[in-house]
Amino acid sequence: MQPLTVGVIANPASGRDIRRLVTGGSVFDNAEKASMVFRLLVGLGAAGVERVLMMPAADGLGAGVARRYRNRGQVLSGSRCPELQILDWVPTGTEEDTLRAVGAMCDAGVAAIAVLGGDGTHRLVARECGNVPLCALSTGTNNTFPEMREATVAGLAMGLLATERVDPSDTTVVRERSLGVSVTGSERADLALVDVAAVASHFVGARALWKPDDVSELVVAFANPSAVGLSAVAGQLEPTRRGDEGVYVRFAPLEEAAIVVDVPLAPGFVTRMGIREHRRLSLGDVVVLSPGAGTIALDGERTFGRSLDDRVSVRLASGPLRIDVDAVMAAAGRQRALPTYLPSTLMKELI
């Protein structure tokens, strides 16, 4: 019988982009990511997961985890730790590593995949993961899709679901929205989990989107008023809940704008943006972006160029499954999934 297995994708490249220079973002080091993976593994093991498949990383993140696992395992000898298996190929250091790893994990029948990265990393995983639920953990900068959370608890929650000690339900595993992106006359098809933006810049360059004047249109899968990034713009105009309605926004120069809104576009960077119009979107609605040369940004990163002839369509669609860690742990408490009652305690309860 195959050991109970989950996957781990930890992006070595997240959390160190140009926003550290032009805004107030800090560096999220791979040593801390390795530490997060280690803590995640401890939680998974405690919940009964037997094996973890992990993406190899060009920058040695996987080796860092393995070293930490080997050394710290002796200190934490009382812990049940799953077998750590780093997928066996030489990484390229590109997005292909993530896509290939998710494919391999799905083929291996993992119960869930933990993702450590920013919105961009989660976007890639969502392209390949089908109905395998994701545990979305933030290590990036402007993260709206994943959350900042202690990895040990996230590991416990994943493990409780994987072992079925907590029943999967529509509250513990939730269906997210996504934005399907297509270009007329092109084979390009992509998706975003948070936002799609039309950008004037010709080149993807340093990728991160941080110049407000560059953005002409925006579609968000959900409008979170407390987010950092473009989703916050829509969130201040038309706040919506996750997994529900999206929002379309057309920007305007400040002197021509109908509304101006001050938004935290990046950590330590609040800027004023002019709005020409905005409207809510329902599941299945399609927005055709106005023609223009430049780039299209997906989840805050300039991703591909477009010419004047390209027609870019964005559709609010059904997205990946996401583990709601709070809901799982609350259900675990109600179902007494974690406590083990000793005989003496049981006797007292019976009395």
Partner: protein, 331 residues
Amino acid sequence: MSSTSAAGSEELTQEELLQHYRVMRTIREFEERVHREFATGDIPGFVHLYAGEEAIAAGVCACLREDDYITSTHRGHGHAIAKGCDVIGMMAEIFGRRTGLSKGKGGSMHIADFGLGMLGANGIVAGGSPLICGVGLSAKIRGTDQVGVTFAGDGASNQGMFLESLNLASIWNANCIFVVENNGYAEATASTYHQGGIDVAKRADGFGMPGVVVDGSDFFAVHEAAGEAISRARAGGGPTLLECKTVRFFGHFEGDAQTYRGENEVENARVQRDPLTRFEEQASAAGLVSEEALRAIDDEVAALIDEAVEQARAAPEPQAADLLTDVYINY
């Protein structure tokens, strides 16, 4: 070959794009040719080739003015070309000829042209880092907005001099940019073995300066980040550590058997991470340059490098009496 743009983040004109491509193509052609010429046994001393890392030198130096300064490394040909050094004089220097930029007495690791702000390649690992602090201090004392950029490898980033220089630049709030060309190896030792913490950029936090990682194979990524860092420094914002993840297409030095590299590692990198290919793909897709214009540059550069080798081979060697010149300078 001089710098063309003072601000890295602005949209580039067609003329600028072609100039940046010319710089990268010149570096590539120069290095590929030195690789072949070295194999003939006619080049004295060591050479360390920069091929694969062109986008970094070109992207950074494109954002500098002629009166800005750089300090370089043992792998310095690319930096020298990008800062505008004469490739005829560089090739002659590498061949050890009297017409070389250092009169044939320094070779590959001592190419310099102070008039262009190229303060020298450097055989000392991390040797350029403290020098650039001097540049920053000098600009501060003289009240100019000149910027100094030092290039260093991932191995150099472990040196005390490098870390002390980060500290000096930080406390002086100096106009210094520390560009780390992380090609994954300190000589033959992989960064996974020699580098605690993996990301050099993280070390900037400890010195109170921003640390950024960019794809060093992408000219536009380097250009954007370097442009912002340099503009920030010029405006009094202080130093930056810019880590560029890159790949070298040759060994640490010519003659290195590279037994420490993975199977097909270099071949894959040449396909997937060639800075010139990536530049051409992006600039062409944006409709900003034509293939004809790029191929014309290729031809011109090839002719220039042919000429450089021909002149170098024909040039005289230094004489014994030259040993006693250029040793001391009276200021």
